[in-house]
């Protein structure tokens, strides 16, 4: 929904993230501290200059409430709020922080996210025995998205090999990124032969459990010129969220999203974001996109829903190189969730950090040539919540 929007009202003046991976010897406190200290250093500010904070944390075992910010960072009792919105938690924390700046209430705010998944062990997302209705089946996260893969195979003729190409491309990009969880390249054969997690998705079709944190410092554009990135601070061009059902499998055949070959929350969030940013040809205008690739099928469907290609064409376009880091629309030049894993609350802030650095021309892994406009996208739950943010340099 774009009533007035916040285009060009919010500037990113610093950002950073931790190394992602199995950070056994670090707690969530260590991780957020690390990301936060790097971000304020990047912005050239002290922690006392932060007026308020928003933090994305999904799981209760990582932390509850905004008091986590105080526990981890000691900001002297300043306002702090925890945001939970599935895999979009981090990006929604950023969205709320952006609104606080755009409203004029604060000068400098922190948007951050952290998740310490590995403390619960690495065999899939925890909690599936606790939440939800006791009798309605609770498919695992890969199972939710697999049901879309099954329909796409049926409708579009996509295959396991088409999925494998997403994994191969993203691991190829991730191998170049010093902060990625996985830095090895894989082959199509490896991806296709991996053990099944939720048929037809195998191990290489799924992002990994991981630990990590990321943080961004926001201010008003007129203040941005007083800080370290005076010449290359990054503007928020659009910020949109769409929420759909938690239970797409109950939507009747004539209801929204019932075909399982598109994610209506992504379609709507993209529509809002493009309208706000004034983008009419996303394929041409978006130079670098960090797109939610929790599963390989998710990236393919997202590329269609984000209008990077026509419906049913994502697999072919990927094969032709459209989504390579040096292709027409670079998708996940960082290596994506496939290479970083998915510490849920942190992922949105990590993507925004990647895109900020891409448009500043200082990407840590693969730099997309001449990137001016970038997009970050999260899709959470059972394709329930989508957050889409567009960033660009000031004009």
């Amino acid at each position: 929904m774009v009533r007035h929007g916040i285009k060009d009202k919010v500037a990113i003046i610093g950002c950073d993230m931790t190394k992602y991976g199995e950070r056994w010897d670090k707690s969530q406190h260590d991780l957020l501290f690390e990301a936060f200290q790097s971000a304020i250093k990047d912005a050239g500010i002290t922690k006392d200059e932060i007026d308020a904070s928003w933090i994305g944390i999904f799981y209760y075992f990582t932390g509850l409430s905004g008091a986590m910010v105080e526990d981890m960072l000691k900001l002297d009792g300043k306002p702090a709020t925890r945001v939970e919105n599935y895999c979009a938690s981090g990006m929604d924390a950023f969205r709320n922080a952006s609104f606080a700046i755009a409203s004029g209430a604060y000068d400098i705010v922190l948007a951050c996210g952290v998740e310490k998944l590995m403390d619960e062990g690495g065999s899939g997302l925890p909690g599936f025995r606790q939440f939800g209705h006791p009798l309605y089946p609770t498919p695992s996260a890969p199972a939710m998205f697999s049901m879309a893969a099954t329909r796409c195979f049926h409708e579009f003729g996509w295959t396991k090999e088409d999925l494998a190409r997403v994994a191969v491309k993203n691991h190829d990009n991730g191998a170049e990124h010093p902060k990625a969880h996985f830095r090895s390249r894989i082959t199509i054969e490896q991806a296709m032969k991996a053990p099944m997690i939720a048929d037809p998705l195998g191990r290489f079709d799924c992002c990994a459990m991981s630990d990590g944190a990321a943080a961004l410092i926001l201010t008003r554009p007129e203040l941005a010129e007083s800080y370290a990135h005076a010449n290359d601070y990054v503007m928020v061009k659009a910020n949109a969220i769409s929420a759909r059902t938690n239970f797409p499998w109950y939507v009747p055949a004539n209801g929204p999203g019932a075909d399982f070959t598109a994610f209506p929350s992504t379609i709507k969030a993209a529509e809002y974001a493009y309208k706000e940013a004034g983008i009419t040809n996303p394929r041409k205008e978006i130079d670098a996109a960090e797109v939610h690739d929790c599963f390989t099928i998710t990236e393919l469907i997202n590329c269609q829903d984000l209008q990077f290609c026509d419906r049913g064409q994502a697999a072919e376009e990927l094969k032709n190189g459209t989504f390579n880091w040096d292709g027409e629309t670079a998708v996940n030049p960082s290596g994506g969730l496939k290479s970083f894993g998915h510490p849920i609350g942190s992922t949105g802030c990590r993507m925004l950090t990647e895109i900020t650095k891409q448009v500043q021309g200082r990407a840590e892994g693969r730099q997309v040539p001449d990137a001016k406009i970038g997009l970050a996208h999260n899709l959470g739950g059972a394709f329930s919540v989508c957050s889409t943010t567009i960033l660009g340099l000031r004009e």
Partner: protein, 481 residues
């Protein structure tokens, strides 16, 4: 009006274990035949629902005035099963319900008491008597060759043109310690001396049957067409037949070789199996055994009526046809939960399940009066298609549908028996889209596909909250009407 059997239904689980697999597992002499084995997501209650659905096919459950449940393997003690079965079968709440337990003759006892209740109570004109057992045998004992799982249901009613009348019954009681299971200690059935057990069995069953025949002036060799009595080994069966002097082919023995000793429902099953080609006016004697015996005298009053029941139901033979062999003995051990493994469970709430009874047990959805779409479950008061507020009316959903999409989930909240679990999005006949797990499926990688037809089946799901959590699953079609 005559009281008798208006309808019947049966349930046999999908799988059979060859007895030679047991012989091989324990290095015992080879024993021929197979036995019916329920899956780990089945118990006496879920099998009763299956038999009840079969029995009530084409009959409005709201017209039935009671449920009597009979079993030695009831799932609760301080809570009955009959009321839960009645709820799942979508019956009224002003009905009579009771559990008959602790003896394998509980089925015939419940049947006799149903007749008593109907005759003595003008508000009660029909009772569904459903018997089920899933006795867990102690591994490497002789019980393992016999004990089998199944359920059968008889709808007893007082009405004109009853297809089979129940004309008389007679019971004997015998206090014998064997076989038994101590309520506070034993997981498995025990026995002291099988020879005396066999002797008491023969005495009780022959006495009950002889007395009821004698007082109705019937000659077993000439007047009886069908004899359906409990037995737990073929030798005992033929011994009774000889002692009673039943004619050739009268004593029903179609069960043991393929299905095994199903316990409480066995006499009902033998009766149902014998009704495929009923003789006009056929006289039937049925007997149950366990600490005594019940003998029940019945007669076919309307041959075509009996045939019509058979045509609309799976009954005994319909289930038998769709049974398949278990892969191996280990599968049996897994189904019987004889390995102390971590089992899938999750948080539960008895309050929430009670509130959602129409959705989760009675299989109701909602229909939007504005756009006409049928939806499940009742998650909201706003339509998920047209967004109209408060326009829903309840609608009964079909127990059949077609697979729209699916996945085979290997990642099911930690440990889980039988992974991968097929998660199936089903479009139900007549509307409504549901997500259910699939059961009774081998090689799901090959056998689950978009467009396949499925049936809904009521199953044990988990034991969250330390109680039995039941829900519907789907299965490849077995042919329930």
């Amino acid at each position: 009006m005559p009281v008798g059997i208006k309808s019947y239904g049966a349930y046999l689980p999908k799988y059979m274990l060859p007895r030679e697999d047991i012989s091989k597992a324990w290095d015992f002499p080879l024993v021929p035949g197979t036995k019916a084995v329920a899956m780990e997501d089945e118990d006496s209650l879920t099998m009763s629902v299956e038999a009840g659905l079969d029995c009530l096919s084409g009959i409005d459950p709201k017209t039935v005035d009671g449920v009597f449940f009979a079993s030695t393997t009831q799932v609760y003690t301080e809570k009955d099963s009959a009321s839960l079965i009645a709820t799942v079968l979508d019956m009224r709440d002003d009905i009579v319900t009771a559990d008959f337990t602790d003896s394998t003759k509980a089925g015939t006892t419940a049947l006799a008491r149903a007749v008593d209740t109907i005759k003595s109570n003008k508000d009660v004109n029909s009772i569904l008597v459903v018997a089920a057992d899933t006795r867990k045998p102690e591994p490497s004992t002789m019980w393992e060759f016999g004990f089998a799982d199944g359920a059968a249901a008889l709808l007893v009613a007082d009405e004109e043109n009853i297809p089979i009348s129940i004309d008389d019954y007679y019971s004997v009681s015998a206090n014998v310690t064997g076989p038994w299971k101590r309520a506070d200690k034993d997981e498995f059935v025990r026995t002291f001396e099988v020879k005396t057990d066999g002797m008491f069995y023969v005495q009780s069953v022959t006495k009950a049957m002889s007395e009821v025949l004698k007082r109705n002036k019937l000659n077993p060799s000439e007047d009886i067409d069908i004899a359906a009595y409990y037995y737990n080994n073929p030798r005992a069966h033929s011994r009774i037949s000889k002692m009673m002097k039943f004619g050739q082919g009268v004593a029903q023995d179609s069960l043991f070789f393929q299905v095994g000793d199903t316990g409480t429902p066995m006499p009902f099953m033998l009766l149902i199996a014998s009704l495929r080609r009923p003789k006009p006016e056929a006289k039937i004697i049925m007997a149950g055994f366990g600490d005594g015996a019940d003998a029940i005298l019945m007669q076919v009053r309307d041959k075509d009526g009996v045939k019509a029941i058979g045509k609309g139901r799976m009954g005994f033979l319909g289930h038998q046809k769709s049974m398949t062999l278990l892969k191996n003995y280990n599968k049996f051990i897994e189904f019987k939960e004889l390995l102390d493994k971590d089992r899938y469970t999750r948080k539960s709430s008895a309050v929430l399940i009670w509130r959602d009874t129409p959705s989760v047990y009675q299989w109701y959805g909602i229909k939007c009066k504005n756009c006409g779409s049928v939806q499940y479950p009742k998650l909201s008061r706003s339509c998920s298609v047209c967004r109209a507020d408060d326009q829903f009316e309840d609608v009964k959903l079909a127990y059949k549908g077609e697979l729209f999409t699916f996945t085979l989930d290997h990642l099911v909240g930690g440990a889980y028996l039988n992974t991968p679990v097929p998660r199936c999005v089903i479009d139900l006949e007549g509307g409504g889209r549901v997500l259910v797990d699939m059961t009774e499926i081998e090689n799901p990688e090959k056998n689950v596909e978009i467009g396949m037809k499925v049936e809904l089946t009521f199953r044990k799901y988990h034991e969250g909250g330390e109680f039995k959590n039941y829900y519907w699953k789907c299965r490849p079609v077995r042919g329930r009407p």
